[in-house]
Subunit: 618 residues, 2 copies
């Protein structure tokens, strides 16, 4: 045995650790590093504004200082930071306000912005410049902040006061080595996707070439505020309860349960304790391990209400729709699914909501893997797609029956589709501190799969409909073209006037034809006009139900009465829709649908409001 | 503006952080958690044995204690742990001996085993049991260790001494909630793949059903020991140099450079300092930022030797070959590539070596994505494949020209192939603390791609050869079957004896045919016998070069002289090969190779030892 290596065990400061493992914080390449700095600062601005009920105005400015050095400034109109907190907020890793709170927010760990300051310091030797003003402050505070790696603490290299025009807000300037690129996984893409689901934000971005891009505010209303909650008994481990108890030694266990957990009333506490054979009055601190275990076990056997969901702020159907439209409308997709918003699930005591939406067709390439747009707590995830629970859920699903191409029924499918998935929760299990992918926790993957299945089902309906319609239209087109031509030619040969062919068409085609034309009248109003033609041999009376796939029409149905063979009847109605309107879904009643082109049989569960799409609202 | 939310900024202990983010440490599901505990303990055992020059003997024992509680014991014959260190090693996150050393090792961060103890405590409330004895100790120390989450420190709940049979070593027992499964991504798979590349280890595993599996030691020799080195100037950032300087204020900058970096001689230091306009005698502590920046910039402009590579311990060609054979021989692959060991590269001052090998065909399914076997510092990576630099390098490569199926030339290819990639380095940038995937750093991805390209090139040679051989064989088979039959039938019809057809075959086929049969004679000896037949119309003289794709033959070439049309000549030789031997590569010289079936043209650069494979040795 070799004895020379002396084991030099030593404590490692969290800053030293992250200095050696910068890639874990997302700083693994010069391009990605600039991206991370902008992202962390903007996420912080949006969190601060949301928490304090401010409609966010954010500016991002990038300047090239040197060959590979950039100056990045992110300024907001947020609540400002207490001057005594500045050094810690920007200079100490693992320091923050949101870690101990259960509430949906972009930041949680107290790592992000400090990591950005840290990276700037390591690569350029320069400290970050912070300007901040709270509404009640008379002056703006100006700090230069660095990080002491050995002790993981903020270093204030200068502090100053100045009069600025700022009403309230914070501005962070970081000098960092990096590389600026546009295109995929870029700062621009992050900002655009952020704007897509944060329509209450206005954002101005000046890139290093001095070009300014503005994302205007499109909604003057704050999103629903997320309220902090207490942890829920479900998902509590023995060690968690031990810890809670160690904090409150002298209180009775019944009190501790009621005070420390959400949804534990005195009645529920009693039930839990009676099941676990523990006296409600017993001092929490005196409980032996066996009792603590019994209580944790009882948690799962007692009926406890699911956690409140006001700690969450999902996007909702309207925001997803807008987001998809704002970002992808230029691709003219032929199908927008109605967004799916799932009911909350509880993962380790934390509520979580999965939302999904998809667009299909249009100018999207059918020869590439589908595009996945992932959001977690309203932040776009642009990196680490392969590691993400969302990708896993997509890859595990067989998409072939939805008209997509997929080798052997697993893996990323190919086809002209964009899938948007948003996951929000009080605690999102990211795979690393850079928060780029959601860990592949089986329960979460399964929940995403459910949302995808619902979205995809509406896609299947669309694709089937389109296929049937295309077939029928093709048949009609052929007949309606060929018969008049035969008639014309025969007439010529025989030297007689060609006979009226519409009755002949009727006999051959034997269909009722519904045709529509769509005209945009204003931003959200479309005039739909068309006619019904009876190409059958009998007089027909029936009802056409009007079902817009997006928006709402002013007419619910058209009654067609005594339509003679070869007779046409015009119709028109108006549709209000925020999404571009391309086609109405028509359903017929009172006629055998096999005779009808341009409409489907009325589904047995048809209702004007909810059409063929399956949606779960929270 | 909403003023009620009082910002409660607070410091977060690293234990609290990891408690909330257990999935970052790999504890995201009950099954994975048991896996992590075994993995962290075994990795530690192997590191300790390697460092102290001990041939490792490890036992892993799992017992089911309860519905979902397991008792996991991992014991080794390592150097033991100083009793004063035990509480910190097992109870304090970010505490260890390898963090501040640049040397290849499995563990680096001082997180793994503490995380395992931590997870056990949280899920069962029980502390871990540690037995340890150093060779010089008279007794074995027995500890029960827990973790204080608030302060991130080890808690000793009991300490004892006992007489055991242990000579030296450490045994860790952890009680934890989890789920035991075999199959993909299991403890069994981890142990099997670990054994495959650590043939100096003997390992005994008892699963929860009491079944014992033994992985015997197959090499009685320690792998090359990795020696610690100093950081290399390449990859040093301004902040890193600032930090180095802050540690050594009064020394001259020339001294500091020579003492703190590897490969900086006094001459190199002088060159760096003259380039950056800094006096060599200047006290390091007095240098302004601008000078420090100039020095860092000069680092990349001065020629500095690459870092020593004795801090690394790559597997090497032989171990990769053995590893592939030991684990995959049951699939009877038809092709083993000669392993590729790349020259070291330097990433951020840290040397790193990429190695690769592949097997193809046999019983592997052609309808599934290829299998990727990833190792980092000799530890198999079973999770997070999608996030890994290895997967990225594979997906970015166009595999279609290598005979694999790949939609649009990117993404994971499909086909009957297993790719083994090993990356070793003094600092592997894992994507998270659970060390399951290597970050997609552009330089590393590119280096892996180079290794893959070399491996794949030998695959292409094999596939082309096989295809040509198959075609020619098919032609020969047809002719050699049909002509005698025609002769027989014609003879019958004409009532004459069928004529000898071999000359006719010669005329039609016009080839020289080399056929071989392989017979296994002992564990590593194969007798190859066969014959050369001249199915052309001329007398032929030529040389056959014998080139075994694995192993070594006792004969280098066969001289074939004056082989008459329709004449056969037998040959035989012996091949020694550790890998299963299935087929010889024959090359011909002195005959136009288009006339030859069963051999290829002699490559211009042919040499007996290195055949057609491209290999870089370190």
């Amino acid at each position: 045995m070799n004895k020379d290596p002396v084991s030099k065990n030593k404590e490692i400061s969290i800053s030293e650790f992250f200095n050696k493992n910068r890639h874990i914080l997302g700083f693994e390449s010069p391009q990605k590093s600039l991206f991370m700095i902008v992202k962390e600062a903007v996420d912080n601005s949006l969190d601060a504004c949301e928490e304090f009920g401010i409609l966010p105005s954010v500016t991002v400015q990038m300047e090239k200082v040197d060959q590979d050095e950039f100056k990045i400034t992110v300024a907001d109109n947020g609540p400002g930071i207490d001057r005594k907190e500045v050094a810690n907020v920007f200079g100490k890793l693992l320091y923050g306000s949101r870690f101990h709170q259960l509430r949906q927010s972009r930041g949680q760990q107290g790592i992000g912005i400090t990591a950005a300051v840290f990276y700037g310091q390591i690569t350029t030797g320069k400290h970050a410049l912070i300007l901040t003003k709270k509404p009640e402050d008379d002056v703006t505070y100006r700090f230069e902040i660095g990080i002491d790696v050995k002790t993981n603490s903020g270093v204030v290299s200068s502090e100053d006061r100045q009069i600025t025009e700022m009403d309230h807000g914070t501005s962070v300037t970081i000098w960092a080595r990096g590389k600026y690129q546009e295109g995929k996984q870029s700062i621009m893409e992050y900002l655009r996707e952020t704007a897509a689901v944060n329509p209450d934000m206005e954002l101005t971005f000046t890139n290093p070439d001095g070009k300014t891009i503005r994302f205007p505010r499109t909604i003057d209303e704050l999103p629903k505020k997320a309220v902090p909650i207490k942890p829920h008994p479900h998902g509590t481990e023995v060690g968690d309860l031990q810890f809670v108890i160690s904090e409150a030694k002298d209180e009775s266990i019944s009190r501790v349960l009621q005070n420390s957990f959400s949804r534990v009333s005195s009645r529920v506490a009693e039930e839990i304790l009676s099941l676990s054979g523990v006296e409600p009055d017993q001092k929490a601190g005196t409980l032996p391990l066996k009792d603590i275990k019994a209580i944790v076990e009882a948690f799962s056997r007692v009926k406890i209400m699911p956690p409140q969901t006001d700690c969450l702020s999902p996007l909702g159907i309207e925001y997803i729709r807008r987001g998809l439209r704002n970002v992808y409308e230029e691709l003219r997709p032929s199908f927008y699914s109605k967004p799916v918003v799932r009911s909350p699930i509880v993962y380790k005591g934390n509520p979580m909501v999965v939302e999904a939406g998809l667009v299909y067709g249009g100018d999207l390439s059918p020869d590439e893997p589908i595009r996945i747009v992932r959001y977690a707590n309203k932040v776009p995830l642009l990196y680490q797609q392969g590691a993400c629970a969302v990708t896993k859920a997509i890859s595990d699903m067989d998409w072939r029956s939805f008209g997509l191409e997929q080798r052997s029924g697993s893996g990323l499918p190919f086809g002209p589709m964009i899938l948007l998935v948003h996951i929000c929760g009080t605690k999102i299990p990211y795979t690393s501190e850079s928060k780029e992918a959601i860990a592949q926790v089986p329960e979460i993957v399964e929940e995403i799969r459910q949302a995808l299945r619902l979205s995809a089902r509406s896609l299947r309906t669309f694709m089937r409909k389109r296929e049937r319609r295309n077939k029928a239209n093709e048949k009609y087109r052929l007949v309606a073209q060929i018969i008049p031509e035969i008639s014309l030619k025969s007439g010529k040969i025989l030297g007689v006037d060609p006979p009226d062919t519409s009755r002949t068409i009727s006999r051959v085609v034997n269909v009722v034809l519904i045709r529509e034309r769509i005209e945009k009248q204003s931003e959200d109003t479309y005039l739909v006009s068309g006619e019904v033609t009876n190409y059958t041999n009998e007089e027909r009376s029936f009802t056409i139900h009007i079902s817009p796939p997006a928006g709402k029409s002013d007419t619910e149905k058209i009654a067609v009465e005594r339509l003679e063979p070869a007779e046409s009847r015009p119709f028109s109605f108006t549709v209000k829709s925020e999404l571009p309107y391309r086609e109405t879904d028509f359903y017929v009643e009172g006629i055998d649908p096999v005779y009808v082109i341009g409409a489907e049989a009325l589904p047995p569960d048809y209702q004007m409001k909810e059409i063929s799409y399956e949606v779960e609202e929270p």
